[in-house]
């Protein structure tokens, strides 16, 4: 089936099995390998992307869900001023350990900064609650996002 959508600010068209996992479309058909597969069941958040502005897990979405929509992956977000700010803050606070979950954390953090951005630990914890880190790095992640909130304002 032919579908079209916007991927990181570019209009794209693709002829694809409508049931193909959106994660696989992003990785295989567009070669964007920043989006990771963790659990493959929507529970870990490593595959988080923005779909029409909202963070969602691409491993349990299908190609058809992208049709006519606007998608940002971690690669697109990393080019935005707030994305760059977050990357700097993650870097400075040494928030990243193995890094596998981080594309997802970056997308969820970006969404929080765009839509709220208050330096509020409870809100930040909630915003990132769909992303799981198995290296146990949450405190520093929260600190990074708090720092980004301060710097953004």
């Amino acid at each position: 089936m032919k579908i079209s959508f916007t991927l990181n600010d570019k209009k794209v068209n693709i002829d694809v099995d409508p049931m193909k996992r959106l994660l696989d479309v992003i990785r295989e058909d567009f070669g964007l390998l920043g989006t990771k597969e963790g659990c493959g069941e929507g529970e870990c958040g490593a595959c988080t992307i923005l779909l029409n502005g909202k963070p969602v897990t691409s491993c349990i979405l299908n190609a058809i869900h992208a049709d006519g929509k606007e998608i940002y992956t971690v690669e697109g977000i990393a080019e935005k001023p707030i994305g760059k700010l977050l990357i700097d803050c993650f870097d400075e606070t040494n928030a990243v350990q193995c890094g596998f979950c981080f594309p997802g954390f970056l997308v969820s953090s970006y969404y929080y900064l765009k839509t709220d951005g208050e330096k509020n630990l409870d809100k930040i914890k909630k915003a990132l609650s769909g992303n799981i880190c198995r290296c146990t790095g949450y405190q520093k992640v929260f600190e990074s996002v708090m720092l980004a909130c301060v710097r953004k304002s």
């Binding site: 049931m19 909202k54 049709d67 609650s129």
Partner: protein, 278 residues
Amino acid sequence: MKFIRPKDVENLLENLEEDKSKKYFLAGGTDLNVQIKNGIIRDANIIYINHLSELSGISEENNIILIGATTSIMDILDSDLIKRHLPYFQRSLESFASPLLQNTATIGGNIANGSPTADVIPLLLVLDAKVELSSKSQSRLIYIKDFFNGYKQNVMKSNEIITHIIIDKNAEKDFLTFYEKVGSRRTLTISKVTLAGMKKVSGQRISQIRLAVGSLNEFPRRLFKVEDYITDKTLTEIDFSRVENLLGKEITPITDLRSDKEYRYHVCVNLIRSFLNQ
């Protein structure tokens, strides 16, 4: 495997009328895709419905709130209309999965998938919600308490689809409410035991009570026997061993990877006690 993307609801219902083969509706996909991944569903006929705007959104009509079947959990959490009339329902849904899943999972999907652990259903049960089932020739309303008839089984016919969930605007008015989802962590948890409760108290007497449980039966259900026993009693008149005895007749907890049946039973007893003492 067939993949169908109907152009509108009318076209969808015509399709259901003509093609009686087993099929799955794809809305948010959060349950369906996990079942496909795990091989529970294979070579399925899929009907995509997430693009049908007639099935999505929250509106009011006289004394009722209508929630379209493909409305996402996040849209319910963000809705001013729901906040005004059904704040308990809205607040309780915050523990649904995670924000990432709330953005895609739909209320109709949670019902149609019919998991014993489905977060939406115990709430709809105490709110006495109705499900609108539509086919080409008619729409019918069925109370959510009458919707399920077995593990992941329901009364929907092969030519029907859930179009709306209907809740009375005053469903929460004058009720004291309770909602507890017991899990291993706060977000991204599958319920071990869920109790939803609503009660009206006049003086010391509980004049009306509704209790619904999740994860304790083959599908979430109301505790009618316990409710009947408690109704019109004061706290001191309630013999709790009687409540436990009746509860034992209404729930059939199992031992699985999340919990064991004894734990589930005792937690349920304690949750009912907490709600009554509240």
